[in-house]
């Protein structure tokens, strides 16, 4: 009896976790995958026919938007690394007692709804808004100049909205670096630049990796920024999925697009991990 209990105990302990995964991960994913292979219409219902053509159609019709999303995601991520590293570095090494305050300030805008923040930028960036109107009046910008509705506005929105997701992981990685390691490098006659390049940067890399993972994936699939700040020529794939699912009730197309996006992002992330020589993506990301 005792032995039976001992053998079963670990499984019973894991059971809630498995049930959770089954209910909230496996079932929705299976449903979505099933939908991506169905045919029909919303009135008569969709039925499973193993219709792989949905994938080919989705990619054929929306490859431009798919590609554009990846490019926007990539540009955003690179810009975020460049912007966030100095910020995180400064807070980690020069923040002193005020570190928590600075981190709080970085997070502060996030207490306001994502959509509202983006709409506020719309108000600021609008053609004759508070930013452009004075510049146009002063003759510094031509009359027809506009930011809203361009790729710049969308990428700007993405950078703004995902900044903390890059700053925080890099900060955490930098924060863990023992200052004595840098001192040791300097003692061994490394210039500040060399010390940074050979000591700080490699130690901060897991943070950068985590940051990239946490920004590239959501930025590529975002649809709020492109719909609020963009125009018809800046449509991202998230927007297409949203319209297909909610406006057209074309669930198979929306699901096929989602799975395609997931496949592309996953292969991108694993490719990137390989490039960095990281075998276990999640382990590095969680560090």
């Amino acid at each position: 009896m005792n032995r039976v209990r001992r053998t079963l105990a670990p499984y019973l302990l894991v059971l809630p976790g498995w049930l959770w995964l089954l209910l909230f991960f496996v079932v929705p994913m299976a449903t979505m995958f099933s939908l991506s292979l169905q045919q029909g219409d919303i009135v008569n219902g969709y039925r499973f026919t193993g219709h792989w053509q949905n994938y080919l159609d989705a990619v054929a019709d929306y490859r431009t938007q798919l590609l554009r999303s990846l490019v926007y995601g990539l540009v955003t991520t690179v810009a975020l690394v460049v912007l966030s590293f100095p910020v995180a570095y400064w807070i980690a090494f020069y923040g002193g007692r005020r570190k928590p305050t600075y981190l709080f300030l970085i997070l502060l805008p996030f207490f306001v709804s994502f959509v509202l923040r983006t709409i506020s930028w719309r108000q600021i960036l609008t053609d004759d808004g508070m930013l452009l109107h004075p510049l146009k009046q002063a003759g510094l910008l031509p009359d027809g100049f506009h930011v809203l509705g361009t790729s710049y506005a969308v990428i700007f929105g993405l950078i703004y909205n995902f900044l903390p997701f890059m700053v925080l992981p890099i900060y955490v990685a930098l924060e863990r670096i023992d200052p004595r390691v840098v001192e040791a490098a300097r003692d061994l006659y490394a210039t500040p630049l060399t010390a940074f390049r050979k000591v700080v940067l490699p130690l901060a890399l897991p943070g950068v990796f985590a940051g990239v993972l946490m920004t590239f994936v959501p930025a590529s699939s975002d649809y709020v920024n492109s719909s609020v700040l963009g125009s018809a020529s800046t449509t991202m794939i998230g927007q297409v999925i949203q319209v297909q699912a909610l406006s057209n009730s074309n669930y198979p197309m929306a699901s096929a697009l989602s799975f395609t996006l997931m496949a592309v992002l996953l292969s991108g992330v694993f490719g990137y991990a390989r490039m960095l020589g990281t075998q276990d993506v999640m382990k590095v990301a969680a560090r």
Binding site: V27, A30, T31, F33, S34, L35, L37, Q38, G40, D41, I42, V43, N44, G45, Y46, R47, F48, T49, G50, D61, Y62, T64, Q65, T126, D127, D128, G129, G144, H146, L148, G149, S231, A232, S233, T235, Q239, V240, V243, A245, L246, S247, N248, S249, N250, Y251
Partner: protein
């Protein structure tokens, strides 16, 4: 108006033929066993021919139903004075409590939200809902989700509604719906920036307004203007005509004329000078001018504009349909219709309300008087016969395939 007396072909087909049900298709398709699990995860449709147009459908639905003392009413935002004076009057008179919710934002998402419960024959917690004569109206109707109305319970509607509403192509004879309010889709422009009078759809294709033109993201609205621009009637169009319209719209887009394809935010963009000339809904422009003191112009283009109708309907699973139909009829009392139109400024389905608003204006003083007079005199709230003659109905779909073809033709214009 291009309303026809011929019933909608989709409706006729619904009465005469049996749809291919989901179960039939599974049997025909021979789905492999591996797919059985995946097949179980799906979206159910109705899959049966609707019975609600049968002659005894009305009796069948209403038999034995009685008042319960409450109504759950789902409507669009900004479609009633926030103080809801009409509902207060209704409750005072009948004792029926109305739970008014502004939960409908767009037709597509609303249909997607309630479809699973309605398919399963469950209540959606709504007894009265206002839905537009859109693709989704057809979906609601064809799937048998709408209760057939008992016109014996609608005496004020019979007495006061404008006659033309009984001939609407999407619901001839008002079997399932009566209008809440209508609106005109036309062109709005900022006269100071445009610098001339706008009269025609071709102005939306004028290279002088490059990058300053707004069009609607709603593909039905967009397609309507494309069709009218190439000289076609949306109501009589088919796939070939759609392709011509799409080419015309594509040309407008490729020339860099269109700044964006907007939802409701076009009003804001027009006010801020982001766009100078745009596709627009009549009531929005009227309200914007009234509330913000702007002087935006709204015109029905020479080639014609479109008219849409938001309709009161009762879901087939409503728990309180008798109270709902009483409320429906209440909105056709002249006083109620006048009070509503005085606030929302959309086309009022009760012509007699115009006289009532004039009377109210005479009794009022100051800015109230001025505002009410403007409403009563506005051709956008009470269009004349000449205006109606230039208004067209939407594209109608006979089949789901046709509808998908339509989406595939026009969706790439707004999502590219």
């Amino acid at each position: 108006m291009s309303r026809t007396d011929v019933p909608d072909p989709a409706l006729l087909r619904g009465m005469t033929s049996r749809r291919l049900g989901r179960r039939d298709a599974l049997r025909l398709g021979g789905v492999p066993a591996v797919g059985a699990f995946l097949a179980a995860c799906g979206v159910e449709g109705k899959g049966t021919p609707q019975a609600s147009v049968a002659p005894d459908a009305v009796e069948k639905f209403w038999a034995g139903r009685t008042r319960t003392g409450k109504v759950d009413f789902a409507n669009w935002p900004l479609y009633m004075d926030p103080k809801k004076p009409e509902l207060t009057r209704f409750t005072e008179r009948t004792g029926i409590q109305v739970n008014y919710q502004e939960v409908i934002q767009e037709m597509g998402p609303w249909f997607a939200k309630v479809q699973p419960q309605l398919s399963a024959g469950r209540s959606i917690g709504v007894d009265l809902m206002v839905i537009t004569n859109s693709v989704q109206f057809g979906q609601f109707r064809d799937a048998g989700f709408l209760a057939p109305l008992d016109h014996a319970k609608l005496p004020h509607y019979a007495a006061n509604a404008a006659e033309s509403y009984a001939r609407e192509a999407f619901d001839p004879g008002n079997v399932f719906s009566v209008p809440w309010a209508s609106g005109i889709t036309g062109i709005a422009y900022d006269a100071t920036r445009v610098g001339r009078e706008i009269t025609s759809l071709s102005d939306l294709w004028d290279p002088r307004f490059k990058g300053k033109v707004g069009m609607f993201a709603d593909i039905q609205e967009l397609a309507n203007f494309g069709l009218l621009a190439v000289g076609l009637k949306p109501g009589d169009s088919g796939e070939q005509q759609w392709r011509r319209a799409a080419a015309k719209l594509k040309q407008q887009k490729d020339a860099g004329l269109v700044r964006n394809y907007y939802d409701q935010s076009y009003v804001d963009a027009l006010g801020k000078g982001e766009i100078w000339i745009t596709q627009a809904w009549s009531g929005d422009i009227f309200q914007k001018n009234l509330s913000d003191g702007t002087d935006l112009k709204f015109v029905i283009p020479a080639e014609g504009g479109t008219i849409w109708t938001d309709n009161m309907t009762i879901p087939v699973t409503a728990a309180n349909p008798v109270d709902a139909i009483m409320l429906m009829d209440f909105f056709y009392e002249v006083g109620t219709a006048a009070s509503l139109a005085g606030y929302i400024n959309y086309v009022c389905p009760v012509p007699a309300a115009q006289e009532q608003i004039r009377k109210d204006a005479a009794a009022a003083t100051g800015p109230d008087r001025e505002a009410l007079t403007r409403v009563a005199d506005s051709p956008l709230v009470f269009p004349g016969e000449a205006d109606y003659a230039r208004l067209h109905y939407y594209v109608d779909f006979d089949t789901a395939e046709e509808q998908r073809a339509f989406q595939n033709i026009f969706q790439p214009i707004t999502l590219s």
